[in-house]
Amino acid sequence: MLRRYLFKRLLVAIPSLLIASLIVFTLPRLIPGDVVMLMLAEKAYAKDLDELRAKLGLDRPLPVQYVEWLGRAVRGDLGESLWTKRPVLEEIGQRLPVTFELALLGLSFALLIAIPVGLISAARQDTIQDYVARSAAILGLSVPPFWLATLLIVLPAIWWGWRPVTGFVEFSQDPVGHVTQLVIPAMILGIATGAALMRLTRGMLLEVLRQDYVRTAWAKGLAEGVVVMKHGLRNAIIPVVTLLGTQLPQVIGGTVIIETVFGLPGMSRFLFDAINQRDYPVIQGVNLVVISAIVLINLTVDALYAVLDPRIRY
């Protein structure tokens, strides 16, 4: 049943993916300034420009370019970077793990904060704990991550003369150093998502805790922990999982800033540089990988519902 449902969801996802691919393809081509001009700079002669354009396939009509590009993309060929001359997929493959790790750590941090704080906030509604937690959550949604990152670099340097290590440590070189260098960036990345998740956890839990079956649980004399965790949280968690899915694009978007500020060699910084250099194949490739990943993860989130809530049967 689940498999059939997922198949159906996948079918619905295809048109959205196709429209997204069209946006991905069209946007970079609207960027003013011609990459060919940029590459050849002032040395360009008319013949060179046309040759390069023909080589890159930029001289053909846009619909033809789109169909060819999509056909190759489906077979795993995302083209070559116009600047590094290396296959885009290979370049992405090198950088994807950094972004993936960062996003995963950020989301884990968000969940680690959001669920317990949301729980306490709802169970102790309108107490000082609740007010502090809610204000902290709104503050978490208001502080710009790039500023927080700057503060975390500047303040320790001023107060204790400690500066973060520059340069990226690979996992194979030093596993502990590798994870340590990602902790602070991931925490900053997770703050806004954590705040949003906390607010939703609190809101959903408050709704559930007013249900009749929760009153029955209290009346049976169950301990608070059992009522809140087993009867409350389990039923409140589904919208939180949904939000986790919808927050994913924002978390990945956030990595653009975090990777830039902390100098991490991830996929988002690669994309940012590509936008500045008008590297079409890279912009398209990275965007396509990102949205495909998001669609797939949202499908997984859908499948997770069945695990979390036995009432859901597909």
């Binding site: 970079p28 709104i138 502080v143 700057t150 653009v256 800033i257």
Partner: protein, 308 residues
């Protein structure tokens, strides 16, 4: 034979004196409502104060700021906060407080223009999609789906790369994103309202689509729109600062808070930390103000959340 029922037209027009009295009573009522809001939602009231302060700063920047935003002050390069320059000066000897005050103008302009455009787009898309449904809804929602599956910063950066930096382009690119998210919420609200018996009744007496939307749907989604707009203001200000930080926002020398944090703010951050600290405080306070106000408004305007 027409069966149109137009009750409002049958009501006798109010006399001028009545109107004046109503306005007076109305303003007292408004004050009372404001007092109630402050008592019940103190955090929201703090948000409101921050928002008003920000508006005053933006409108009267010339009077509030002691110096021009681009005015260099002789012999005052990178001064730490002191009595004469109470937020310090930057690497080009410009007064930080004056630049922060002028920066409010950028944030407020971008915030309100973005949200205005976003609300217009989102309401048009959301209400039409929710009201008409069918194939139109299906197609529109698939496009919104595709748009929403992009990380917002990625799409905004791509759009900004297409349009080039500048205030108007920032507004346009941010409005598209915020509109996509908001249109979903407005569509949901519209579907719920369109199923109401009073809409059915309006249709029954022969009201056209335009009349139903304008007289019955829009007034009922207004609360949702106000809440979305207030929260959207915070989002827009935060997003604008991120874009300016990445160099895609309002070009210098006009001071955008995000832009002040990048470039020289980061270059000199160890020698003159105030250059990096104050713009961030300003962004956080502004967004915090709008979020707090938005939250409180939602509690007050959305009866389902009352007492939470």
């Amino acid at each position: 034979m027409s069966t149109r029922v137009e009750i409002p037209q049958r009501v006798a027009p109010a006399k001028a004196a009545d109107t004046r009295a109503r306005i007076r009573v109305g303003s007292i009522d408004t004050l009372r409502a404001l007092g109630r809001f402050v008592r019940r939602k103190p955090l929201g009231a703090i948000g409101g104060v921050i928002v008003v302060a920000l508006l005053v700063m933006a409108v009267f920047a010339e009077r509030i700021a002691p110096y021009g935003y681009d005015e260099t002050i002789r012999g005052a390069r990178m001064r730490a906060p002191e009595a004469a320059h109470w937020l310090g000066t930057d690497n080009l000897s410009r007064d930080m407080w004056s630049r922060i005050v002028y920066g409010a103008r950028v944030s407020i302009t971008v915030g309100f223009a973005t949200v205005g455009l976003a609300v217009l787009l989102a309401t048009t898309i959301g209400v039409s999609s929710g009201y008409f449904g069918g194939a139109y809804d299906l197609v529109v929602q698939r496009i919104v789906d595709a748009w929403l599956s992009f990380p917002y910063l990625v799409i905004v950066l791509s759009v900004m790369a297409v349009l080039g930096p500048g205030l108007f382009n920032v507004v346009l690119s941010l409005a598209i994103i915020i509109a996509a998210v908001n249109s979903r919420v407005i569509r949901g609200a519209t579907i719920a309202i369109a199923q109401g018996t009073y809409v059915e009744a309006a249709r029954g007496v022969g009201c056209g689509h335009v009349r139903i939307i304008v007289r019955h749907i829009l007034p009922n989604v207004a609360a949702t729109i106000i809440i979305l707009a207030t929260i959207g203001l915070g989002t827009a200000i935060l997003a604008e600062s991120a874009l300016s930080f990445l160099g895609f926002g309002v070009p210098p020398p006009y001071p955008a808070w995000g832009g002040m944090l990048s470039g020289s703010g980061r270059t000199y951050m160890f020698r003159a930390p105030w250059m990096a600290i104050w713009p961030g405080v300003a962004i956080s306070l502004a967004v915090f103000g709008f979020n707090m106000l938005g939250d409180a408004l939602r509690d007050v305007l959305d009866p389902r959340l009352r007492g939470r």
